[in-house]
Symmetry: D2
Subunit: 310 residues, 4 copies
Amino acid sequence: MPPTRFAYLGPVGTFAEAALRRVPAASTGILIPAPNVVAAIDAVRDGDADAAVVPLENSVEGSVASTVDALADGDPLTIVREILLPVAFVLAVRPGTAAEAIATVATHPHAEAQCRKWLAATLPAASVALVASTAAAAESVARGEHDAAVCSALAAEHNRLRPLWTDIADNTGAITRFVLLARPGTPSQPTGNDRTSVVAFIRANSTGALLEVLTEFATRGVNLTRIESRPTKRLLGQYCFCLDCDGHVAEQRVGDALAALRRVCADVRFLGSYPRADEQESPAPAPGRADVDFTDAAAWLARVRADGSG
Amino acid sequence: MPPTRFAYLGPVGTFAEAALRRVPAASTGILIPAPNVVAAIDAVRDGDADAAVVPLENSVEGSVASTVDALADGDPLTIVREILLPVAFVLAVRPGTAAEAIATVATHPHAEAQCRKWLAATLPAASVALVASTAAAAESVARGEHDAAVCSALAAEHNRLRPLWTDIADNTGAITRFVLLARPGTPSQPTGNDRTSVVAFIRANSTGALLEVLTEFATRGVNLTRIESRPTKRLLGQYCFCLDCDGHVAEQRVGDALAALRRVCADVRFLGSYPRADEQESPAPAPGRADVDFTDAAAWLARVRADGSG
Amino acid sequence: MPPTRFAYLGPVGTFAEAALRRVPAASTGILIPAPNVVAAIDAVRDGDADAAVVPLENSVEGSVASTVDALADGDPLTIVREILLPVAFVLAVRPGTAAEAIATVATHPHAEAQCRKWLAATLPAASVALVASTAAAAESVARGEHDAAVCSALAAEHNRLRPLWTDIADNTGAITRFVLLARPGTPSQPTGNDRTSVVAFIRANSTGALLEVLTEFATRGVNLTRIESRPTKRLLGQYCFCLDCDGHVAEQRVGDALAALRRVCADVRFLGSYPRADEQESPAPAPGRADVDFTDAAAWLARVRADGSG
Amino acid sequence: MPPTRFAYLGPVGTFAEAALRRVPAASTGILIPAPNVVAAIDAVRDGDADAAVVPLENSVEGSVASTVDALADGDPLTIVREILLPVAFVLAVRPGTAAEAIATVATHPHAEAQCRKWLAATLPAASVALVASTAAAAESVARGEHDAAVCSALAAEHNRLRPLWTDIADNTGAITRFVLLARPGTPSQPTGNDRTSVVAFIRANSTGALLEVLTEFATRGVNLTRIESRPTKRLLGQYCFCLDCDGHVAEQRVGDALAALRRVCADVRFLGSYPRADEQESPAPAPGRADVDFTDAAAWLARVRADGSG
């Protein structure tokens, strides 16, 4: 069997690479850095990679829009695993650069957003150059294009830079949630502690429709853990919703809720059922929402329809 | 094939007999008057009759409690037909009795309730004797026990009484809804304009539970046409609900709603799917609630579960 | 000050009289038996009495329809107190009557309903005569018109009858809830453990409307303790709802819910806020539903409207 | 009276400047370009400007995260006007640059996202440099740092660049919604066609809480036109929601809904009521939701509380 090819948001030294290295199969696989999220995702769609690791959301900056949009549009892909990675930034310079000599700081827009107050307080005179990734920022400093980079410790090391400051994020404790994507396939077996992701494209009127969508989850006792609205790329005021819920599509209450969504929405895209990476345990189903309750109710309905006996 | 035996709330001359005579098969069947609603229903349960006609609700007095309670409790029975009967009362006396000579008026409690204002205005000095049926009231007048009866024109005729006044109900236009009951069997084919009846026994807390029950119907676009609360015969404040909805259990949205009820309620008793007797047409299913939407969603879910393709 | 005149569902010896005797002021008041519920209620409306005690619901038979209807229609009256009375029936005969000699049993329809199984099992050959009250049943036995009465021990004693059997109800532990009615006036002070009653007349379509009504209570965290549907006396399928909820109209969440009902319903009739007679304690308001939350939110809204400061 | 000072997302030539020029008062005011959204907003907070024009959402890219976050956090500001601006991008070069010679293209991340497919198809070999604004991209091309800029026609003209291609967005018809911000003050008079914006910080559990928030709007017939979830900058899975609804806080149904939000949410920040800039008319209030219905219900409740008369 040939080794698995993993695309990831490159270059070498990104947080995405660090996330990928937590996937056991990556140690024997081929790692392919991609220039951006869309390229990493398209590598899987085109068959140039078997899987891809990209960031999905960040506890500070929220959804990674390009990932969400790439999942909502184009050929379907499935999330097969999630990886939660603490995010720690350093301010890295070439050896010998003094803090006073920093005129330009390179970084990625998300990293800039997470260190904005620190930069304004610590380096108020420096101008910030936004580049494609924090790893690219480190590379640009190594090449002498910029004086300092906001990047990971790994990227600094890769590029032989020296961290002048560490842990410079405005909110410490930030976590990025990465997902491992593959082409659609049979979902993995339920573990009892899973998460399911979908994109729901609602019909015309957004208000009532979202209320309707949330009600389908609520009546079946399925807990939503993430709700992200995204414009549908056509008109102001038209949205789709990226939703994560507790449970696995193989479980009755989750499957039943998704089938109801499929009916009441303009479209639903299934993005996968996979084990939760956080340490929180999914709560037990509410009364009347366990698999056995669905099986019993279906059997009862079949009897009612067959001979009225119920 | 032996003739069908129909029990009905007797004696001869009741509105129930008039309702039964509207059932085509009754013309060749055996008609068995029963002394009260419970006796008529038990005749079917015990196999002494094949079907029974009893009143279920009245547009003025509401549910007929003994019928509802008999359906909610004991061996299951199924409604196979509904009959709507305009209710018109007469005040009947023995020939020769003058209005001034009426000291006592016999009638059934429901009829009394429907003619109360008329009686108070027209015969303020007369005392009212409550008896088991309006037909029994007519018989008691014929026997000379009372001076006048509030009963049907048919019962007056049967007992050779003379109607002194006709159409004496306080609200004219009253309708009684009778049902034809049989032992459970395969529901009849959907006609496209059906009604379905159930009794839902809710769990502990009544408020949230009824809201939950109504929401299961509402999310599936199933219209409720009747809601009757009944105490569960145990504690003040514990209820079951007798519900009628548009549609047939063979239809997906109705079956799905009933299965959901079965899950979220302590118990659900199916009382039948049968053609509507009124002239109102059931509305078309709301978007996403037609049979094809359920079939499509189930197929989609099966594909998602099988190979993630959706 | 003249003594208070209390009407009650008579005659002497009814359960209503027993309930009235639990009202402290009754010991110095004038007690006026009325022939039926409507007469007792109308005595207050007409000024012939200052208050009336009538049954509202029974844990076995449900709502007392004539009381509910009399409250929903006609000049407004207010519930100022509720009285819960355990209901125990005896089978009473004239001294010397043997069980074998009982051919007719007189009682009130509600009592008959509560002792039906016992009567069918114990006196299968006896015919049942329905009369206006259990006290009237006892009187009729005393006069020799019937052989036995299903009535209260008090009524048996009043009429010098002998109880052949006691506690004959099919469900022991039955309770009847009586209410003390008066002409509208300032509601009594909240006690922290009150109940509020209203009649809500819903607009056209009953399904959605009831869901809407229940939602107004649910969003404000107001618990409903009783829901009774009643036909509106016009068309089959049109209902009003008699609702009891925890709390007092002087409390913000209750007042706010009632005002919302007033907006979304065709009409709302306030039936009173009064202390709960059962021993259950009303739960504390849910987060965001205490009086202080409403006061704070109103002050916030006033600031937003005045100067945008919130 | 000194002229009004307007900050805007600069530099000269941005779409924000074009939006600001649509505000009548801007023609006699002082226009102050700010280096980024936060700087423009802080200029108002600090008193260095009287108002600021910043982008709030884009029909393709969705919310402008830094604007939303700046409004949700820090000293309160109020939206006093919205401006809808069609967004048209050009690819601009220094005169004499041929398409074949374009190695680097500078632009802002949002503009890059909106022209991504066009760039990949038309200039597949060019690398993209992300800079702080499309106007800054044009400036960088004028300085010779990059070969081409994706920017507005105005920015190209300002910097004496030549548009090689026009209307290059992947989705034509894109619109950006800008808002004019000021320090809190009395909201403007309702026009009958207004919009209201708030940020709702929900309590612990996100699912039920959003359902609760949407229900408060739905029960009062207030239509939501925009729902944006944003992380609360603390934990993954904790959100606040930026909501736009039809109507003005001075209208009863809107004010009542906001007061309810204030009660059920951890916090609510009022962002303003202002005239709608699109041509869609706000629908008339649903039955029971007009101002007169609220006034009538409040008067009814006052009567009930005062003397029980209702």
